[in-house]
Each structure stands twice: as structure tokens, then as C-alpha cells.
Point group: C2
Chain length 209, copies 2
């Protein structure tokens, strides 16, 4: 079934080092996630995330040995760019990409946990809003926050979203949620490790867009 | 001075036929117009318009003789695509592009005419809203209309916009407005001719996005 959920992320090694090549292959399956939201309104988000992936891939492809892990990318770019860093290169692209990944992770986790608006059990606005508040809101100025609030009305209902995640096959809701929980194990570990890396390397920025 | 305003469109010939090559060269200068609005919020609009231009250019480049004029593109695509037409190919791309061009035209005309909100003389929201209402609103569902309303707050003030149009050079406001009026002559004639063509060919659609 699921487009997204069948593409498991690789388990983290004990060192928490993330292999760039494997990571890029796994995240490449995520932009279609925004098509599952069912509206063209989300096209600019998909484009932004695709842009991040392309940027990281270009750095990796320039020297696959040198940039073998995400950690190496940050370390090397820090030494190359000096005071421009970390608002530059693949470091910047991954800084934003991880926020999009965190958004997806929290949204799926919230659905898997059965969190819902009892008055509107077939809407996922409450889950999307939770993910947005925790992953992105603090990096968005009030205008983009207002745009988000407007775009939220384009979100699909719960059943359509689950169906889209299952590539439109008839899949029992419980099976889809079970797949989601399975997917979340390595995915969450990967996203956490990237956040830890930005924190350890002091590479996180909190400017607004 | 102006980035945008120094790139005059070609005058229309008596036949009102628009040469594809010249047209594509002229419109290529317009996407930077959205940078003059000064906020990244407008990046998706710029991308949409760039997408239209790329699509038309690809059709033209596939056979520059066959697609010498915009009229020929519509005629040939109509015969190629049958009942799929006009929601297809360069015909669709130009259908949307002309709406973006009309938006720009009405905005500049309104500024050139000195229309302003007397309570907020240094804002251009009133001019942008006029352009949006006349050129685009009817093709946008309520969610995109709401997004527009939110994005409007990212619009620059009048003086910054005029300065940006003048490539940040110090140019007297009156000189900038004079350039604008000059630019609008051929530009408006071109946009009008494209609208006439869609009307004559019965190629206009009014579905919502
Ligand atoms: C007709 C009227 C139309 C008016 C037009 C209004 C358009 C509204 C604007 C929409 C914004 C789209 C989202 C994109 C926002 C982006 O601005 C931010 C920062 O984007 C980063 O910026 C960096 C420089 O600062 C680099 O360029 C990064 O690029 S680099 O690779 O070059 O380094 C880039 O990703 N990304 C973000 O905020 C990330 C967004 C992830 C979103 C996750 C899901 C949210 C889901 C919401 C569901 C409801
Ligand atoms: C973190 C939260 C983030 C949430 C994200 C929310 C993002 C909001 C969405 C923003 C919409 C951006 C504008 C783009 C709208 C587009 O949907 C429409 C139709 O676009 C057309 O669609 C066709 C198919 O139907 C073809 O694909 C065309 O493509 S084709 O070439 O392939 O044939 C394509 O241009 N174009 C439009 O409406 C044209 C827009 C022109 C705009 C002119 C100026 C407006 C200025 C406003 C100033 C205030």
C-alpha cells in the first residue's frame, strides 16, 4: 500500500551518523506526501521541500566520499563558509528540510495516536495545527502564519487523507494506522538525530520568514 | 532606470498578430517584478508565471516556424488536442499568463493614474486589490482568495515599490510614473490583443483554482 509508508527510513547506527545517500533516497519519497493533502494550494510547500532536497543532493554529488554523512556536510561547510555559516549551503537547506520532516512526523504521530476533534471527528485540522505549532510556527512571521491559517481550510478530511496515503486502495483504517506506526519508528529516530546534530553543532537559527 | 519599465514590449502590427519570439523575450523581464514586491511570500506567484513562460517557450522551440505567432499556437494546438483543448499545452499556460499580465497592467495603470487611499497615501493595497479583483479573483476559489488577503499585508509601501521598480536608484517619483505610462502603451495593447484572441477563438475557461 502506502506510497509514503512503505518507504521505511533506514535504522540509525549506534553512532547516530546518517548516511547522506540513504537519507536522500528516503526523503525523495516525501514530497508526494503533499499531494495527499489533495489541493494545489500545497504546491509551493512541496516545491520548497524539493528545493531543499535538490540543494543537499548537489552538495553530496559534488563529492560523495567527502560528504558521506550529514554530519560531515555540516562540519565541512562550517570550515568552508566561516561566518556565513550556518545560513548557507546544504546546512541551511537541511535546517529547513528537518522542520518539514518534523511537521510530517508530528502530523502522522498525532493521527496514529488517535488524537481528534470530537466535534469534527473526520477533520484533521487539529492534527495539522498541532504539527504546525510545534514544527514551524515560530519560524514564520505573522503574514505567513495568516497564509497557513487560510491554507488549512484546503486540508482534506481524515478518511480521504488516509485513503490517499494508501494510494487510493481500499485499506482498512486500522491497517493504515499500523503502517504509520511502523513507518514512524525509524523516521522519528532520524529526524531526532538531525535535530540533535544541529543542536550539538550550534547550527540552529531562529530567524523568521 | 527601471528593470521592468525599460523593457518596452514591441508595438502591435496592424494584424494584431503577436510574434511568439519577441513576446517571450519581453515577458521574460516580468517575473522579477514580483521581487519588487519585496517579500518571499510572492515567490510562488513568480514560480507560477515562470512556469507558464517555460511551457510556452518549450512549444515554440519545438518548431519556431510552425509556432511563429501566438495565434498559430492556439490554432495548431486546437487541431492537435481536440476536445482536451483549451485546457492543455501552451494554450493553458498563456490563458493563465495573460491573467498575471493583466494584474500587472492594472496595478501599474492604477499607480500611474494616481489612484490612492487618501487615508494611507503611501500604501498600494488599494491598487493591488483593484488589479486582483479585475484580473484574478473570479478564477480563485475562496481559499486562494483568503490566501491573497493574507499575502496582501506583505505588499511594500508605495515609495519602496517605486524605488524597487527603479532598481534602487534615486529617481524622482514623477519620472518613474512617466516611464510607467510609456511602458503601459505597448504592454496594454499586447495584453488586450491576447484577451481578444482568447475570446475570438473561444479559448477562455472560467474554472476555479
Ligand atoms: C493569488 C494570491 C497568492 C498569494 C501568494 C501567497 C503565497 C504564500 C507563501 C507560502 C509559503 C510557502 C511555504 C514556504 C516557506 C519558506 O519561505 C520557508 C523558508 O524557506 C527556506 O528559506 C531559506 C532562506 O531563508 C532557503 O531559501 C531555503 O531553501 S534552500 O534549500 O535554498 O536553503 C528555504 O527552504 N520554508 C518553510 O517554512 C518550510 C515549509 C515546510 C512546510 C511543511 C508543511 C506545512 C503544511 C501546511 C498545511 C496547511
Ligand atoms: C506554511 C503555510 C503555507 C501554506 C501554503 C499556501 C500557499 C498558497 C497558494 C498560493 C498560490 C500561488 C499562486 C498560484 C496559483 C495557481 O494555482 C493559479 C493557476 O495556475 C495554473 O494552473 C493550471 C492548471 O489549472 C496550469 O498548471 C498552469 O500552468 S501551466 O503553465 O502548466 O499551464 C498554472 O499557471 N495561477 C494563478 O492564479 C496566476 C497567479 C498570478 C498572480 C498575479 C499576482 C497576484 C499578486 C498578489 C499580490 C498580493
Amino acid at each position: 500500500m502506502a506510497l509514503l509508508l512503505d518507504q521505511q527510513f533506514a535504522p540509525l547506527p549506534d553512532t547516530n551518523e546518517i548516511a547522506t545517500k540513504t537519507f536522500l533516497e528516503s526523503v525523495a519519497h516525501l514530497p508526494p506526501f503533499f499531494d495527499c493533502l489533495g489541493s494545489k494550494v500545497f504546491a509551493p510547500i512541496k516545491a520548497d521541500i524539493n528545493g531543499n532536497i535538490t540543494k543537499i543532493k548537489a552538495v553530496y554529488d559534488s563529492d560523495p566520499v567527502k560528504y558521506e554523512t550529514l554530519q560531515q556536510i555540516l562540519l565541512i561547510e562550517k570550515s568552508i563558509y566561516g561566518s556565513e555559516w550556518p545560513k548557507v549551503g546544504a546546512t541551511l537547506a537541511l535546517m529547513w528540510l528537518k522542520r518539514g520532516l518534523r511537521f510530517i512526523q508530528i502530523l502522522l504521530q498525532s493521527l496514529a495516536d488517535g488524537e481528534r476533534d470530537e466535534d469534527n471527528p473526520n477533520l484533521i485540522r487539529i492534527n495539522i495545527t498541532k504539527a504546525y505549532d510545534q514544527a514551524l510556527k515560530r519560524y514564520h512571521g505573522w503574514i505567513v502564519q495568516k497564509v497557513f491559517k487560510a491554507a488549512l481550510f484546503a486540508a482534506p478530511c481524515r478518511s480521504d487523507f488516509l485513503k490517499a496515503l494508501s494510494k487510493d486502495q481500499e485499506v482498512a483504517e486500522e491497517d493504515c494506522l499500523a503502517k504509520m506506526r511502523q513507518f514512524l519508528i525509524n523516521f522519528t529516530a532520524t529526524v531526532d538525530a538531525i535535530y540533535d546534530m544541529y543542536s550539538i553543532m550550534n547550527a540552529e537559527l531562529d530567524y523568521l520568514v
